[in-house]
Structure formats: C-alpha cells, structure tokens
C-alpha cells in the first residue's frame, strides 16, 4: 500500500508538472463537448427548395407559402422550367425541386386529387429521407386543408374521416437532439482521454528506459499497475464531472436519474478502459505504436457504439460485434439514467457485463505485464 502511494504521488507530480499536457487534458475535452454537441446534429435544416410553378394559381401559391412558413426550408427564386431547376441542382444551389403541374388548381378542386413531382438530391441518403418526410408532411397538411375546405362547400354531406396522428415523444419531448447527443459525446471524451493516456503511459517509460529501472526494484506487478492507473482513474472522473457540469449549465440536459449511479457505473467503466490501455501499453514498444492501436479501437468503438447510428439498424453480425464494445454500454447507461431516470435495477445487465469485462481485461493486462523476459 505504501509503495502504491509513492507511485501515485510520482505520477501525479509528473502529470501536473507538464503544464501543456494538463491544459490539453482539460481544455480539449471541454472544447470538443461544446463544439461537437452543437455540430453533431441529426436535424436537417436550411434546406434549399426550388419551385417550378407551372400553374400560377392561388392554390399553387398557397402551397408555396406553406413551405415558406416552415423554418426548415429556404425558398430560392421560383423558376419556370424544369430544365433550369435541374441545372440549379447540378450546381448544388438547390436540394429539392418541386414541380407544380399546369392543371394543379383545377384538378385539386374538381377531382379532389392531383399530384406534384418532388425531386430530391439524395447524395446523402439519410438527409434525403428526412427531407422527403418534411415535404410530405407539409404537402399532406396542405391537402387536408384544401379537402376540408372544398368539402365544406360541396353538396356531399359525408364528412371525410380525418385521422390525425398526434405523436408524443417520451423522454425527450421536444426532440432536442442535444439532449440526446451530449451524454453520448461525454462518454466519448471520458473514454478517449483515459484510453490514450493510459495506453501511452507505461510505454513511455519503456521508451525512456526508466521501466527497466523499475523492473530491477522489488516492486510488485499489481502495486506498479495500480499506482500507474489510479491517477488516470481520478482524471477520468474529473473530466466526467466537468462534462456533466457543462451539459447541465450550457446544454440544460436533464438529469432524471441518480448522479451517484452515473459515478458508480463510470468508476467501474474506467477500470475497463484503463485495463485496455494497459494491455495496449504492454504489447507495444513505442508511444507511436500505442497511439495507433488505441486509435484503431477507438474509431471502431465510436462508430459501433450506437451514438451516431442506431445499433438496431446495423446488420446482424455488426450488432453482435457491438456486444464487446464498452462504449456501447456506457452510452446506453448514460442516456438511460440521465434522460429516462433509470434506476440501478434497470442498468444491472450493463453493470454486470462491464464489471466482468473490466475484471478480464485487467487480469490479462497484469498477466501480460512482464518484469523480465
């Protein structure tokens, strides 16, 4: 125990001695949280939409106006030929072309139905899908309006059934993507910081030659490893704290569940990440190698975490791969506890998996750390 304290003391001195590193450790994650949370959005806004109004009637103008009223669309100057509009799309000046046919108004009133053509730039398929939904929503609302109006004046006494879907979004009722993203990004930052720092720490001593000096001392493997990793465990918890404060103060992300639960889970989770870092450190000879390997895992962990793309829509095999992704569980738990107010009972499965995982990784790491060769 005394030995461990001496190592911890030395590690903290080294961390705090390097003022530049200290700044990087704290300022970079804060900047990332502020920038990414504002930028990593699933909202599709500022959609450029171009109308080719061949009808020039009161109805067609009413349709265009209902797009104007939406905050999602920017209307470009109306054009009069499909060809011109397509040129605009080629130049990237418009995302959607709506072609209103010549008999739009007449058909709508007389036959109660008509069609318009909508052309969407689908280079980004996900965005195109969302744009399509927006357009359809506005057009349908417009259609309902017209039908109700015309029915009112028509002789037909039968009032059409209007089925109105009123969605109610639980846990995030304003569909604020930041509420959804901030806990996830916070997870990334805590993971990246601790994984990189721990994976480069021991290998750094290998490079400097000080590790050999350590190996000649009667120090025990577990003493050295605990002493080495404890400071990073503390750093991870500090970054989590700073991140939680920012998400509350800047982004107003709710904290419905218990904050103690978040800390409990994180403290076990960090053990796992540090174990992975140590394992990498043991199997590399230079900080460069360690960095590359840490990045390799980090990128896979991030993209398969369910943070940016839902795990449910991944192919079967990929879903299975995510089962060994620690970030996946952390993202789930953060979102569950912060946004849903889940209690310990709800996160027991994740808790057990992470605990076992941490145990196995640290076991492997201690086992693979060799004082002699």
């Amino acid at each position: 125990m005394r030995t461990i304290l001496f190592i911890v003391q030395k590690e903290f001195k080294q961390i705090f001695r390097d003022k530049n590193m200290l700044k990087l450790i704290f300022i970079l994650p804060i900047l990332q949280l502020l920038i990414l949370s504002n930028a990593a959005t699933f909202d599709v806004k500022n959609i450029n939409i171009t109308f080719v109004d061949n009808d020039q009637s009161a109805e067609s103008r009413a349709l265009i106006n209902s797009f104007k009223a939406s905050s999602y669309f920017n209307l470009t100057a109306p054009l009069f030929s499909e060809k011109q509009a397509i040129e605009e799309m080629q130049k990237g000046k418009t995302d959607i072309i709506v072609n209103v046919p010549i008999n739009f108004s007449r058909d709508l009133i007389k036959e109660q139905q008509t069609s318009i053509s909508v052309t969407i730039n689908a280079i980004d398929a996900a965005t195109a899908g969302i744009e399509n939904v927006y357009v359809a929503q506005i057009v349908n609302a417009f259609g309902r309006n017209i039908i109700t109006k015309s029915n009112y004046f028509s002789t037909n006494k039968e009032v059409p059934e209007n089925i109105l879907v009123i969605p109610s979004f639980w846990y995030n009722n304003t569909l604020n993507y930041k509420t959804f993203m901030v806990p996830g990004i916070l997870v990334l930052l805590v993971t990246m910081l601790t994984l990189f720092l721990s994976s480069m720490n021991i290998v750094k001593e290998k490079e400097l030659g000080t590790l050999e000096q350590i190996n000649v001392t009667p120090i025990k493997k577990h003493q050295f490893i605990i002493g080495k990793l404890f400071p990073f465990w503390i750093l991870g918890l500090i970054v989590l704290t700073v991140g939680l404060l920012i998400s509350k103060i800047v982004f107003n992300v709710p904290m419905l569940g218990s904050i103690t639960l978040i800390y409990l889970f994180t403290s076990v989770y960090l053990l796992l990440v540090l174990g992975i870092g140590l394992f990498i450190s043991n199997h590399t000879d230079t900080q460069q190698q360690a960095m590359f390997i840490a990045w390799f895992f980090m990128v896979i962990f991030i993209l398969m975490s369910g943070l940016f793309t839902p795990i449910e829509s991944m192919p079967e095999w990929a879903q299975r791969v995510t089962l060994i992704n620690p970030i996946r569980y952390f993202v789930e738990v953060m979102r569950m506890v912060m946004l849903k107010g889940s209690s310990f009972v709800d996160i027991v499965p994740q808790f057990i998996i992470i605990s076992l995982y941490a145990f196995v990784m640290n076991g492997l790491a201690v086992w693979s750390y060799k004082k002699s060769n």
Binding site: R2, F6, K10, L208, Q213, V216, P218
Partner: protein
C-alpha cells in the same frame, strides 16, 4: 580534486576483503540464447564480497545480457546464478531487494526534481518517509547538492545525473551494486570523481559489479573478466592479466584477447 588520491593496486591491498572470500555472486554455465545465437555462452565465475569486479568486453560481447540475467530482468536459457544468496531464476524478487542497479541508459526521471526522484526510489524500495529524509540529508551533504536539490533532473549535466543515479541505486543499502557503463560520455575529471564514489562505497563493504569500455577504469578494479563473443576469455587481477599476456597495460590485454579470437 586530487588525482593522486586513487592508487588502485595499493588501495586494493589495504581494503578489507573477507579473508574467507565469501562468494556473493556465483555463476555456473549461465546461458542466454536468442534463437540459435548464444549471446551469453555458458559462463561461470564467482564474485567475492566487497570486491570491485570489472566486467569487460567489446560491444556485443554479451556483457549487458549477462548482467540483465544477474539482476533478474532477463530469464536465463540455461545454467544458474546465485546473487546475494538467492537464485536469480526462482527468487528474482529477493535478489532485487538486495541489489542496486544503474543502467547505461540513464534512468532517473527527468521531469522530477532531484529530491522527488530520491523520495520515489527510496519509497519503492520500502524506505519510510523518515528514513528517506535522513538519506536525503546525508546525500545532500555528501554530494554538496543543496543548490540543485529542487531542480529538475533533466536540467542537470550528465556527470551530475550519473553521480545521482549511483547514489539513488545505493539508497536502500544493497549488498551489491551493478553498474552498466556508468561513466559513458563524460569527461575524465568527472570519471575520476565517479570512481572515487565507487571506492568510497567499496570501503563500506558494498560489492561493485561494473561494466566499462575504458581500460584505465579496468585498472581500478580488483579483478576483471573479459568477455569475447559470449564467453569469458580471461579472469584475474589486472596485474596478473598483464603478466599473463606479457603487456604493459590493460588496453593491450584487451586488444590481444580480442585479436586472438578474430
């Protein structure tokens, strides 16, 4: 600094070396193979308590590899060795408690101060805070380092670092101290001072096991072994070796041996 203070041969005779010649390092057929290549090829020798034992050899002769086996960080392929009464293969951790080591790759922490390094290494060798305090005070007095005790080690000249490294390796009062090319890259005066420290320590009864490339340093040793291509080709006092090879200096002994092999 008076260079005349060191008179290796005469000092040797006046120093107390156990009459019974108690073995403190005992090596039998120690071998380390990397694949088919035997870096250390079945060497055997003994080192006695209180001796300054010079471990010589050309670059790549296997000195460092042999030393690493003796300090318990490299596992022998064959053969055995007892250091300070413990087997390096089965009881490496006990060996480590009883030895000090200073590597050729200077190994204090550059980003810690002199004092912090002393505290850290004292601490992991199991010294109490109080003991560390006493040791630090003694070191400050001995090396006259009051002025630099709170400087970062990285900012010190190489000669200072080496003296410190040596002192730190002695903090836990080991029975044997292993020095791997301790004076590489420093000026002759600093080397002299370093050897004075070695002598002072040897007078206190610590066994010194030292590798070096400097043949003048070899003259300071009580006994030297010369390794060539993984084998020990000669082992005796510098005086006897010179007589044996019929030459004037250790330098010539070394050249003769190395040439004979080629």
């Amino acid at each position: 600094m008076n260079n005349q203070e060191i008179k290796p041969q005469s000092e040797f005779s006046s120093r107390v070396i156990d009459d019974a010649k108690e073995k403190i390092i005992s090596v039998q057929n120690l071998t380390k193979k990397f694949g088919d290549f035997a870096a250390v090829d079945a060497i055997s020798f003994d080192v006695y308590k209180g001796e300054i034992f010079g471990f010589l050899g050309a670059n790549g002769a296997g000195k460092t590899t042999a030393m690493k086996m003796l300090i318990g960080i490299s596992i022998p392929t064959a053969g055995e060795a007892q250091v300070a009464g413990f087997d390096v293969l089965t009881n490496a951790e006990m060996v480590k408690k009883n030895i000090g080591y200073m590597s050729q790759k200077f190994s204090l922490y550059d980003d810690l101060t002199v004092k912090e390094n002393i505290v850290f290494f004292g601490g992991i060798y199991g010294l109490s805070r109080a003991e560390i305090k006493i040791k630090t005070a003694a070191l400050v007095k001995e090396l006259q380092i009051e002025a630099i005790i709170n400087n970062l080690v990285g900012s010190l000249p190489l000669g200072w670092k080496q003296k410190l490294s040596f002192s730190v390796a002695l903090l836990h009062e080991p029975k044997i101290v292993f020095l791997d090319e301790p004076t590489g890259g420093v000026d002759p005066i600093t080397r002299r001072q370093f050897w004075e420290m070695i002598y002072t320590q040897a007078y206190k009864g610590t066994t010194i096991f030292v590798t070096t490339h400097y043949m003048d340093e070899a003259e300071y040793c009580d006994r030297v072994s010369i390794m060539v291509a993984g084998k020990i080709e000669a082992l005796d006092t510098p005086k006897n070796l010179k007589k044996q090879f019929n030459v004037e200096t250790m330098n010539d002994v070394f050249l003769k041996l190395a040439r004979n092999i080629e």
